[in-house]
Symmetry: C2
Subunit: 243 residues, 2 copies
Amino acid sequence: MADDTAAILIIGDEILSGKVADENARFLIGELRALGVALRRVLVIPDVLDEIAAAVRELSERYAHVFTSGGVGPTHDDLTMEGVARAFGARVQRHPELERLLRVHYGERLAERDLRMADVPDCAELVRAAQTQWPVIAVRNVYVLPGVPEIFRRKFTAIRDRFRRDPFHLACVYSRDEEGRIAGHLDRVAAAYPDVAVGSYPRFGGDDWRVKITLESKERARVERATAELVALLGPAVHRVEN
Amino acid sequence: MADDTAAILIIGDEILSGKVADENARFLIGELRALGVALRRVLVIPDVLDEIAAAVRELSERYAHVFTSGGVGPTHDDLTMEGVARAFGARVQRHPELERLLRVHYGERLAERDLRMADVPDCAELVRAAQTQWPVIAVRNVYVLPGVPEIFRRKFTAIRDRFRRDPFHLACVYSRDEEGRIAGHLDRVAAAYPDVAVGSYPRFGGDDWRVKITLESKERARVERATAELVALLGPAVHRVEN
């Protein structure tokens, strides 16, 4: 498992039923890319304990980092902590520091039930950050984030620097010719540069260019060589190159 | 497996790397809800043959309908048909009717390579619809749709009526009290009506109400009874009810 891979697990009936449009995966996709982290999976599942546990276990085994969104409040449909605990054969127990933070935050408004938000897997780590009084709960390589978008963003932003890796380098070549006509050239470059991700995206209805080709890798020199080779193969079909 | 469950499989490096924001899952979530279909999974994976095959196989076994998006053009990164074939132990072969449609559509612009878009699993079914000359390719319960959003929408819309089921009924109760204070009442209603999905969504920063509670089922009478019971339990905490 490369140390720069990641998966996003969105837990929430409200997303699957269309009551709320996902904002957190959308935000995190951009963040991870900017950090040089290779996102390999986005998975949206319902508020069902066994499904949460199975998804957390599988994603945690396959990818370096897993970020969950949702299911961390005090109500019956907040099952993420229990699911993460079950994924790792751990128990959920009340964490004294989280209980203290909740008591300070809520003051007299605290309902007994709010203390559920201090119940975390017994192997949880509290990841602290200067920008926020609330730590992020992590269990092994799984970071448990809340579903409310403002809080999701604030918490991720507070810990984002720990995920920074080498950046991706991207070049884009725009082809006047359609995909079917240039596919052989793309085959050659993709085969010669297996370490460079070559993507081909047609556009319908444009006159000046018809396919956007992306070439991407963490090695800038490899992207440049692959791009030069593709440009030479495409010849007059090249509309423009960006890198 | 209930006959009204579904999964969406988005195949595309461009989504995971943030080059393109997903539009197809977002569109289909709303469509499936309106059709009375219970969406249970959205999964976004890269353009990798084995991952496509494994995801198609698993989702096809677990859910009544699977909709894939992306990976169906003529280039090296278009691996969906091969992945679907592999999922079912089928072979990919050229389909005469699809070849004929491609020849008519492209005319002299046809490149030999464009005919790859006529290569489909040997057990594929062509689902025809009055609104479009292009059939949708289906393999068992898997509907293979293209990634380009306009075409994705057009193709799904052409076949959508075959998925129509009984509608969902939804009620919303808005609580002035915070989640921690009403969680016990939600527990009672959720336990008494296991066939009604009860969701609890806090809002931060509003003054008039602080939690939106959703109650949902295909049985209108059950939603109404569960809602009445919850409203009675919440008493003066109820800000308003929508159904």
